[in-house]
């Protein structure tokens, strides 16, 4: 567990003299870890090199000991300066030189103190509150004229991701995207995490929620029962989805079909294509999914389980939506804000069978949240990783198979 960190600068002919190697070895031998940042190597033998080294240690005392040990080798603590702030010129507009965030843990230096940036997320700005010496990540659309926005890179430091203490699939921190790799151990590791998180969540510990973002293929492929069981058994606390997942889930409940296909017989039923429209219409008539469940119209399935178990559901609309269902948020910025508001407290994210929802959710997640992306199409986990969510473990497999295997690992007998 990292308790203390400091950035030092080492300059001179540090490569061929092995001074850099000596300093890095010393840090490791003393029990610290390091991240090499901004290494510039001299282009000629005469030209000096320079390395910025972020040192992390489990205690301030260990950090002090490490700093003392490497100081004689020229590793000097970098002169620290407060971050520079500029007032936003207008509502919804950052200052020209605004600092753009990553989704890694970030600190800014304010009034001589390094403070954590709250609600970190990629591709946002940082707004500071000088009164209470606080800082948080802020979407461009939410900035108000005059807000103090961190500008430039001075006084901002980003910490690399720590290797989790658990020795499981997440500790490798590399996206595994291949249909040819065995899945069993990944699913077993995810199940183990979910078991632990549920137990902790029940005792009221923070950051133990499991978020599932899913697409309608979960229903088409036959994963509905397994997901319903996972929700019923208390393994999922937050659900992100679109109109379709909910519509097909309730279509299955009302008509036994998913997009017109009989779920048990596997055949298109006469006029089955109308079923999802009639389902949506029915729920709209009732007024809400919650009311439909509470009135007993919808008794079983994913949405019913969510309502019954108090799962927080955020439904984001798209242009293709029929209806949509009453709870669907059709303003995409409002939907993004609602999803963002549901992220705090999440300790594991499962992104299943939906390109749009997976990437959208990935963009909102800090890198510190272990994430699994399951899709039968390898392009989806790849796309997620390419858009910066490098912490996500990619699993190329059918959504229903994944959910069934996962539920069975956790005790489902279906």
């Amino acid at each position: 567990m990292v308790q203390a960190q400091e950035t030092v600068v080492l300059r001179g002919h540090i490569i061929d003299s092995l001074i850099l190697a000596k300093v890095l070895d010393t840090i490791l031998m003393m029990g610290g870890t390091f991240d090499l940042q901004d290494v510039s190597i001299g282009k000629t033998r005469q030209e000096a090199s320079r390395a910025n080294i972020l040192i992390q240690a489990s205690s301030p005392q260990l950090l002090a000991e490490i700093l003392q040990a490497i100081q004689p080798h020229g590793a000097a603590v970098e002169l620290e300066r407060d971050c520079r702030c500029e007032a936003a010129p207008a509502d919804g507009v950052f200052p020209e030189q605004f600092y753009a965030t990553t989704h890694l843990p970030t600190q800014v230096r304010l009034q001589g103190q390094w403070i954590d940036v709250e609600r970190i997320e990629m591709d946002l700005g940082i707004v500071v509150d000088t009164d209470r010496v606080g800082a948080r990540a802020l979407p461009m659309g939410e900035v108000k004229r005059g807000d103090l926005i961190v500008s430039g890179r001075t006084g901002v430091r980003v910490s690399p991701l720590q290797r989790p203490q658990e020795r499981d699939v997440f500790s490798f921190m590399e996206s595994q995207v291949s249909a040819e790799r065995p899945h069993g151990h990944i699913i077993a590791d995810v199940a183990k995490r979910m078991q632990v998180l549920r137990d902790r969540h029940r005792t009221g510990l923070p950051d133990c929620k499991v978020l599932l973002a899913g697409g309608p293929a979960i229903i088409h492929a036959g994963g509905r029962e397994a997901l319903t069981w996972l929700i019923d058994a208390g393994f999922i606390q937050v659900l992100f989805c679109g109109n379709a997942l909910a519509a097909h889930d309730m279509e299955a409940e009302l008509y036994g079909t998913s997009l017109g296909y009989g779920l048990s017989a596997g055949r298109a039923v006469p006029h089955g294509h109308e079923h999802h429209l009639r389902t949506i219409n029915r729920i709209r008539a009732i007024g809400s999914i919650v009311a439909a469940v509470k009135s007993g119209v919808i008794k079983q399935g994913i949405m019913a389980a969510c309502v019954q178990r108090g799962v927080q559901v955020v439904m984001a609309g798209t242009i293709r939506d029929d209806g949509p269902l009453p709870e669907v948020i059709t303003d995409s910025i409002a939907a993004q804000a609602a999803m963002r508001a549901a992220i705090p407290g999440v300790g594991l994210a499962l992104l299943i069978a939906s390109t749009l929802h997976s990437v959208a959710t990935g963009n909102l997640l800090p890198a510190t949240i272990p994430t699994v992306c399951v899709d039968v199409n390898p392009a989806v986990p790849t796309k997620l990783a390419d858009r910066g969510s490098f912490q996500a473990v990619g699993l190329v497999m059918d959504a229903a198979s994944f959910l069934r295997d996962l539920a069975r690992e956790l005790g489902w007998r279906g």
Partner: protein, 266 residues
């Protein structure tokens, strides 16, 4: 023709103890010291053909005789030393004054940026090495590198008996290196081996290293070293060097020998 800065040992004695060799109880024989110093000068002038610049000794500054620590001089540019110990800091003004008086462009380091001159900065035409940890501060080397436009590889000095780089490391003409490897850690030894080929490394044995065999002055193929180092002399001869042993044991009482008593001026 080589020019060396030297300082007669008129006031040389052990007044304080700032390295493991110095013991106030180990009294210097002044007559013997003067004789040894003059013998060294004679060999330098007559055998090696160097030109000597003598600076004026100063009462109360016993170590002014060790001019290797005056600073470092390349071309017409001199960087005077910043001594770590207050006992020798009083020498700084005299060395700096000498450089000024003799028309050198003097570049000074910030106060507190310890750097003990050619005692800790030695090298070959294209690659210099800097000794640090005992006396000089490693942070001085990037600054010196900029001043002189040279690569300087820092080497940590691990053994307090070899407290300056010139006590255990002596670049010879032709790219050979006379040195005592255990004075460096494995990083330093690896860095040296990376730059100096196996055939050009002349490792000195411990018992002669402790007689400061590496504290030698090399001009062309001639090498002056302290007397009593037959193995090192044989090693030098085997590589085509001509060794000139000079008894300098009075100066060893202070932890210095041939190289410490001279500063190369160009």
């Amino acid at each position: 023709m080589s020019r060396l800065l030297v300082c007669p040992p008129d006031y040389f004695r052990i007044d304080y103890e700032i390295n493991p060799w110095m013991h106030r109880s180990n009294v210097v024989n002044p007559d013997q010291a003067v004789l040894q110093w003059h013998r060294l000068m004679q060999v330098l002038e007559e055998e090696l053909g160097v030109v000597l610049e003598r600076m004026k000794p100063v009462a109360g500054l016993p170590d002014l005789v060790f001019t290797a620590n005056a600073g470092v001089v390349v071309g017409r540019r001199a960087v005077p030393s910043r001594f770590r110990y207050p006992e020798r800091q009083r020498e700084e003004a005299h060395f700096e004054g000498w450089f000024h008086d003799h028309g050198y462009e003097v570049v000074t380091l910030d106060e507190g940026m310890y750097f003990e001159g050619a005692g800790d900065l030695l090298g070959f035409p294209n690659c210099w090495f800097g000794g640090y940890r005992q006396r000089s501060d490693i942070r001085a080397f990037p600054i010196l590198s900029e001043i002189y436009g040279k690569e300087i590889l820092p080497l940590e000095l691990m053994d307090s008996r070899f407290y300056h780089l010139d006590t255990c490391f002596c670049p010879l003409s032709g790219g050979d290196l006379l040195y005592y490897p255990p004075a460096f850690d494995r990083y330093g030894q690896a860095a040296i081996m990376e730059r100096i080929g196996p055939k050009q490394r002349l490792p000195v044995l411990e018992h002669e290293a402790l007689k400061f065999a590496c504290n030698a002055v090399c001009v062309g193929k001639r090498v002056i070293l302290p007397a009593g180092c037959p193995d090192t002399m044989a090693l030098l001869e085997s590589r085509g060097y001509q060794p000139y042993p000079v008894p300098l044991d009075e100066f060893m009482k202070s932890g210095g020998s041939a190289k410490c008593l001279t500063l190369a001026l160009d």
